[in-house]
């Protein structure tokens, strides 16, 4: 195969969505008829370009990463490439059969058994029956669910369910495999197995893989080239390392202290995080490795009604966006049974267990168990050199970002 042969070649693709709410377009036949009878012009539609003039080539046999914040257009691009929706402009030439994996377990039915779901899901994902039969044993072995093959999947644990679903997907054999975020599920060991399987797919079988993920570690580990999308436009394209650096730089530039203007957030909006701040102990002090620090999160809500069951958590990410640890009201202290409609939540770290560096913070809240607000990369926490171990020393910077308390003995005796 010549190295210049492409698997996908996209030219100027754009996708426009109608984002009018239901007061401005007819959503019932009755409304549509009334509108027409009154000779009313189509009520002025609001539109949004979710993707705008995106062009790129993916070489056959390559693994290609697509990164960008929430709402950057990644999912729209994948939907176009997998033919679920059509572009408004532009076109894509595709060489070979495309298999897409935008979710694990698409079409799984809880009443059907594991065996039946393998055939159903495989067929929906585009496998022929003969392929599924040939791969059946491999799928079952990969999922580690032999004993439950003839049990309805509604009786599966969520871990088993995900493993079975991923196992089917992992045995798809299209020329081009499109994968979205699905690695975010399952336990760590299984994720690793899946990543390994995807690596095999490109290295040994010469298939093309397109991977979209927030997990920069996975994307940079697996892909050689990639693109960065920002608000529907192509912000960078090329070797994956460069693209990832571009992404990280763009996150830092943004600063994100006032969170009110962040559009790339999810949740039902019952509350919104409005401000973000971190400060070390002492007046205006920096955050020091081993020093105390306080993360403050201001929140607001549209109504003045008191909040019930407020849960807040913070995720801390390292240089490659790999999550380092999780701080949660569910684990420490307990969720708040009631809370005022607006206020400030503070999380105190008595001894910051991090090497000097820049760390990204994601904030998350639920109210009455529904996701209320979720802002990825709400801000950056700078950590400066400090005295974590009480002796002024720190491990070499390339030995990992975390600092952990520990002690040594030799033949049972502590060193003098």
């Amino acid at each position: 195969m010549s190295s210049s042969q492409f698997a996908l070649r996209a030219r100027g693709i754009g996708k426009q969505y109608n984002i009018s709410d239901h007061t401005s377009t007819a959503t019932t036949m009755a409304e549509a008829v009334v509108d027409r009878l009154r000779g009313r012009a189509p009520r002025d539609p609001k539109t949004l370009w979710a993707l705008d003039d995106v062009s790129f080539d993916v070489e056959a046999g390559a693994a290609y990463g697509i990164i960008g914040r929430n709402g950057a257009g990644k999912s729209t691009l994948l939907k176009i490439l997998s033919r679920i929706t059509r572009p408004t402009r532009g076109e894509v030439e595709v060489r070979g059969r495309v298999g897409s994996l935008l979710e694990v377990g698409t079409g799984f039915h809880p009443e059907l058994t594991g065996r039946e779901n393998i055939f159903l899901n495989g067929a929906i994902l585009g496998m022929r029956r003969s392929e599924i039969v040939r791969q059946f044993d491999a799928i079952v072995a990969f999922a580690e669910t032999e004993a439950f093959l003839d049990v309805p999947v509604k009786r599966y644990s969520s871990g088993m369910y995900v493993r079975l679903a991923f196992a089917v997907a992992a045995h798809l054999e299209p020329d081009i495999l499109i994968v979205d975020e699905v690695l975010a599920v399952g336990d760590a060991a299984f994720q690793k197995k899946c990543l390994g399987k995807m690596g095999d797919v490109t290295r040994q079988d010469g298939r093309t893989v397109l991977l979209v993920s927030h997990n920069l570690v996975a994307v940079t580990g697996l892909c050689s080239r990639g693109m960065l999308l920002d608000r529907g436009r192509l912000a960078a394209e090329g070797p994956i390392g460069d693209v990832a650096q571009h992404y990280l730089a763009s996150l830092e530039q943004a600063g994100h202290v006032d969170l009110r203007n962040r559009a790339d957030r999810s949740g039902n909006g019952r509350i919104r995080f409005s401000t973000w701040a971190v400060r070390g102990d002492g007046t205006d002090g920096p955050v020091l490795a081993g020093g105390g620090a306080t993360i403050s999160l201001g929140y607001e809500s549209a109504s003045t009604e008191e909040l019930r069951d407020l849960h807040v958590s913070i995720a801390v990410h390292g240089a490659l966006d790999d999550q380092l640890f999780h701080l949660s009201t569910a684990t420490v202290g307990g969720d708040y049974a009631s809370a005022p409609a607006a206020g400030t939540v503070q999380c105190r770290l008595p001894r910051v267990p991090l090497q000097p560096g820049r760390y990204r913070i994601t904030v998350f809240a639920t109210v009455q168990h529904d996701i209320a607000d979720w802002v990825q990369h709400a801000g950056v926490m700078e950590v400066e050199a400090g005295d974590f171990f009480g002796n002024g020393r720190l491990p070499p910077a390339d030995q990992g970002p975390m600092l952990v308390d520990h002690a040594w003995t030799l033949n049972g005796a502590v060193a003098p």
Binding site: V94, R95, R97, E111
Partner: protein, 274 residues
């Protein structure tokens, strides 16, 4: 074999679906059909028994209401079979329509995650309609045998009536499927329309018993020819007029063409609307 080259383009103006592509996905039609059949029998207590009881109960009600109360029964002991044949035939049309019509909304989560020709879903409903028909015909055959009804050569044309009923139901169902995604009220109005149609069609009574003044209106309904054809094939009743059969054929063809055109146009931005 070199990988096939294809192009993803913006909306096209094609009128009819890509049947070549549909053929590639024929196994998926079967898979969805098998899923629906399995689920139907797994989730009900009565299971298959329900499929047997349904036409018997419906035909029984028609026999009492039209045959005895409205006194349309000639007393030749075949009224129940007449109603049964009518109901079974109407069911082929109605069940195809209802299943095709609901197929997109019922599978919305799959439609936004995977691509396959969307026509696969409405088509997959046909299998369970035919299974129901098969079971109903066994029951019908049993009763006909007991009553000593002799079945003649017109029975050979029975598959034709089934085909026409399927086409008519599928055509209407495709339009309903497309519209019900866009307009939420379609799925609420449909049962009412179908309910009216049961009475506006000679399902529970024979066409010949309708007063002459209403006959021209009845002839407008293509299902009238269908009912007559089925009763001719299964019970040796009076054959439908040539005009009625021609109208039924034209209506079925038009319905399926219109359905395919509406569906093909709509399918392209389905995932953005559903």
């Amino acid at each position: 074999m070199p990988p096939q080259l294809s192009t993803i383009r913006p909306f096209t103006s094609r009128l009819l679906p890509d049947f070549g592509e549909l053929w590639l996905y024929r196994e998926l039609v079967w898979t969805f059909a098998a899923r629906d059949l399995r689920l139907r029998y797994r989730q009900t207590v009565l299971g298959v028994l329900w499929v047997v009881l349904q036409p018997i109960i419906a035909a029984g009600v028609f026999t009492v209401v039209f045959g005895k109360i409205a006194k349309l029964d000639d007393g030749d002991g075949r009224y129940f079979l007449l109603a049964f044949a009518g109901y079974a035939g109407f069911q082929v049309f109605q069940s195809t329509l209802a299943k095709a019509g609901a197929s997109l909304l019922a599978n919305a989560p799959v439609l936004t995650k995977v691509y396959f020709p969307r026509l696969v879903l409405p088509l997959s409903g046909i299998l369970s309609t035919l299974v129901d028909l098969g079971i109903a015909l066994l029951v019908f055959g049993g009763i006909a045998l007991l009553k000593g009804v002799s079945i003649g050569w017109p029975v050979l044309l029975f598959p034709l009536w089934v085909l026409l009923a399927l086409l008519l139901g599928l055509g209407a169902g495709l339009i309903v499927a497309a519209w019900s995604v866009r307009f939420r009220d379609v799925q609420h109005v449909l049962p009412i329309v179908l309910q009216l149609l049961v009475y506006a069609t000679p399902v529970g009574y024979a066409t010949a018993k309708v007063p002459a003044a209403f006959q021209p209106y009845l002839a407008l309904n293509p299902l009238t020819g269908l009912m007559d054809g089925i009763r001719w094939s299964l019970l040796g009743m009076q054959a439908p007029s040539v005009g009625a059969v021609v109208w039924l054929c034209i209506a079925s063809t038009l319905a399926v063409l219109a359905g395919l055109v509406v569906f093909t146009r709509f399918e392209q931005d389905l995932a953005d609307v559903i």
